[in-house]
Symmetry: none
Subunit: 139 residues, 2 copies
Amino acid sequence: MIMLKKIMLKKRGICTKTMNKSDLKLIAVLERTGGFASAQELHQILRREGDGIGLTTVYRALQSLVDDKIVDLLRREDGEAIYRLCGDTHHHHLVCKSCGDTVEIEGGAIEKWAKTMAEEFGFRDVGHTAEIFGICSKC
Amino acid sequence: MIMLKKIMLKKRGICTKTMNKSDLKLIAVLERTGGFASAQELHQILRREGDGIGLTTVYRALQSLVDDKIVDLLRREDGEAIYRLCGDTHHHHLVCKSCGDTVEIEGGAIEKWAKTMAEEFGFRDVGHTAEIFGICSKC
DNA sequence: TTGGAAATGATAATCATTTCCATTTTTGTG
DNA sequence: CACAAAAATGGAAATGATTATCATTTCCAA
């Protein structure tokens, strides 16, 4: 199955030459779950699936994927590091402050805004975060 | 001198009614140093100046200032929280992932987007967060 | 003055992340 | 295949920021 992943990565245009098994495992999980996940969460998912991978290895693999620009490193509000595959089309969230209900929404306007602003100030390699929170109709 | 600070705060349009001494001390330091500082750094500065304030109190004061939207909470690349006085207008940030340099930017597009999305899904009382991060021209 | 609420700060606990290091796995080579 | 060197692995301990606990102190209105 690792070979399968390698083929998928090639399709994505990612060079697998310098990757080891752990790197590929992490990529596989990130691919499957979509969106963001912290190192701890990724570790738990792998463990739950019967993989005996160690937490240290998860951190190491993520670090190397970030170095190779295969994975993006962001921060949750509390400072915890979260990771996602680069180039994923990502979505934003509309969160109810009362019941916690969450809706995934499109952010085309945001993408454009981020790009424009980054250009204006000479920033490159830009990413962004955006969230809307309020009270949903049920609450 | 606390009275002096209170006057300055009033000029800035900040209500001091709910503030205690620690809050004011933190505001004073942030005002003096400009820029960003972490809780640990702010604590050290105060200690160096002979103030016996405890680390716990520094964290508590900063938290309450953030809640009151008097202070902005951002993150350094390593996830450490850094604080600075808010400007008076609602703005967003363009942050350099490498050097931490920050530009305040306009977010008219975001305001509109947030409002539209909230309406579409029947949310009320909405607020939002949005940040752009990348590598600045100097780095 | 006094009683209770709020504030304070030392200490301990928590939690993500790193460091260390001994062990296992992989790889290249004859 | 054998085997040594290199790379990868993972458990345990260390680190460092942040938060929780709790006894003590300060503040303030009656």
